[in-house]
Symmetry: C2
């Protein structure tokens, strides 16, 4: 696969110029550009600057709000509800994190449920902000207008894939878990439909309730769905996770499926916890690091080179990116370059 290489500052300038030309207020564009590049730096290029060509039409249509702020619906100190007014999720989330981090330092723990954010990007780019400050950070997100996953035993699209992430410190780099309640994601389904490929395993469900590798079932009539974690065998466990996440993001924020929203929007739950307010930072990192090492030193299964703890790969990539340049796949660069040409924005030189 052809890769293009850039200095991180050049990529950030490009993202910033594209977003401001697209109408986004400068302070918000600065934050979004920074977090997109941090995401490319850890190798998650599906959620980095590659998102800009999706955000530009959202800004043009007004689906992504370009200026203004969030509304505080409820603030009890330890618990909060915000209405994000469909502002850029990266920008809303950095403020949500700053607030929860400050409150967690005071109270030991703080949480915020947010209705009507726009796309928040890569969850572990966000949890990392708190984890690098020594805190535990849990984030979950859902879209009350989205229907992609059936409840276990059912067949009709009802739930979103419901991503969740948790980041927390260890003696070296943070553990960064970033996953979801379904086996695969909407973007992977679209990728497979676009490339005309089947999934490696039966991760989809047709409308009759039969497992299939075919991503096209989501466009059939009646529609098929994405299987929950556990699949046909133990998908009640993924369904349980999905219910928990929709509760945290929709029921706690007071905005969910009952109003039958049709506008795409991200509901988000974020909780920050301070280990110092429990058994203390030293005991915390001692236990986390001890368990991490038990995992990393575990005898690998046949065909596996070594056991990784979530976050290990991201930090390897980050070190490589920081030492040199950020790599983007050709497919991403082609789309970003097309957006730049359309808006008359200069492209950086590939390094």
């Amino acid at each position: 696969m052809t890769q293009h290489h850039f200095h991180r500052d050049d990529l950030k300038t490009l993202a910033l110029n594209l977003l401001t030309k697209g109408g986004l207020a400068a302070d918000k564009a600065e934050t979004v550009a920074e977090l997109l590049v941090r995401t490319d730096e850890i190798g998650v290029t599906t959620h980095g600057i590659s998102m800009v060509p999706y955000y530009l039409p959202e800004l043009a249509s007004g689906n992504m709000t370009s200026e203004g702020s969030w509304e505080v619906v409820r603030d009890k100190g330890v618990t909060m509800v915000w209405d994000g007014n469909y502002l850029p999720g990266h920008w809303l989330m950095t403020h949500a994190l700053d607030t929860c981090i400050a409150r967690a330092r005071d109270y030991g723990m703080a949480a915020l449920s947010m209705r009507r954010s726009h796309h928040i990007g890569c969850l572990s780019t966000l949890t990392r902000i708190a984890a690098e400050q020594g805190l535990v950070c849990y984030i979950s997100t859902s879209d009350p207008s989205g229907r992609w996953v059936a409840p276990f035993g059912g067949t009709e699209p009802t739930l979103t894939p419901n991503p969740w992430a948790i980041g927390y410190p260890s003696k070296d780099h943070p553990v960064l878990i970033d996953t979801c309640a379904s086996i695969t994601t909407v973007s992977k389904v679209r990728e497979h439909i676009n490339s005309g490929t089947q999934f490696a395993n039966p991760w989809m469900l047709d409308a009759q309730g039969r497992a299939t590798r075919d991503p096209n079932v989501v466009n059939a009539d009646p529609k098929g769905t994405i299987l929950p974690v556990g699949g046909m065998d133990h998908g009640h466990k993924g369904f349980a996770l999905a219910l928990m996440i929709e509760m945290q993001t929709q029921a706690l924020s007071g905005h969910g499926r009952s109003s039958e929203p049709t506008r795409w929007g991200g509901n988000v739950f974020v909780q920050v916890t301070d280990p110092e307010a429990f058994g203390g930072n030293d005991a915390f990192t001692t236990e986390v690091s001890y368990l991490n090492d038990l995992c990393r030193n575990n005898r690998p299964a046949e065909g596996v080179s070594r056991v990784r703890v979530p976050g290990d790969r991201a930090y390897d990539r980050l070190a490589q990116s920081r030492a040199g340049t950020v790599a983007l796949p050709d497919e991403v660069w082609t789309r970003v370059a097309a957006s730049a040409e359309a808006l008359g924005v200069d492209l950086p030189v590939s390094g």
Copy 2:
């Protein structure tokens, strides 16, 4: 399967008499007996009075502490650490719940990480206590001396199955999720070994890293393990859950695998959240109930009679038990009756 039927009060008296004869202080025996019978009432007979024959030798050996109280290691109001001193988990947890419920009413949210509890029984019997009071209750538990599950990609037993549960109110009865981070549990493995049966699907991993239906791999040399949720296909998702739960219960409580404990013990994390401190109780139950109904009214897959939300079956069973008698399988009753005979405790009449 032969069933024995009892009035709940008679079963509770039996459990109470057995536990006090076994040396447990009266106040603690009262709580344990009550929660065991509540567990039988919802049909989870593996975790009801059937536990008493396991608890009695634990009391006799001193592995389960029979009197005294917990130690408060840390109390910051919103966050707490307790040392359970290996007291009965049901008794410790009712006090932990009472404390977290009161704090959550004040602050919106409260959490407690507890080291060195004894067995806490059925998690949803505990979360139900808070959920029936209109609160969200999350509980996770691990045993830092237990090794049954390998990290994804590895082969050596490292983690416990790591049960987790969440309960929360709806317009009818609470949603009660009660599950774990591995596909199956230690007690199911033992059941299958004792009955000489294979699992229906490959839920185990042999020491070479090959999936198998054979429960006996846990006794092989080198030992096999229980597969994490997601199995060979996407077991990194179950591994992620397991890491989160060991972090909540061990790293936050400041007592984990790093001290290489050999005594069986339950570490527990409990968090209670008040929906009124977020978007409000009405909005909360509206959203939860709307989504529950979308699930229950979902067109079932071929071979499925109807879609259930977690907690539906428990509340059907509870209504049956409250209307008449509590049913126990013959295998359970035989073991309980043997304990009663050994201690000279009268048996109730099967109704």
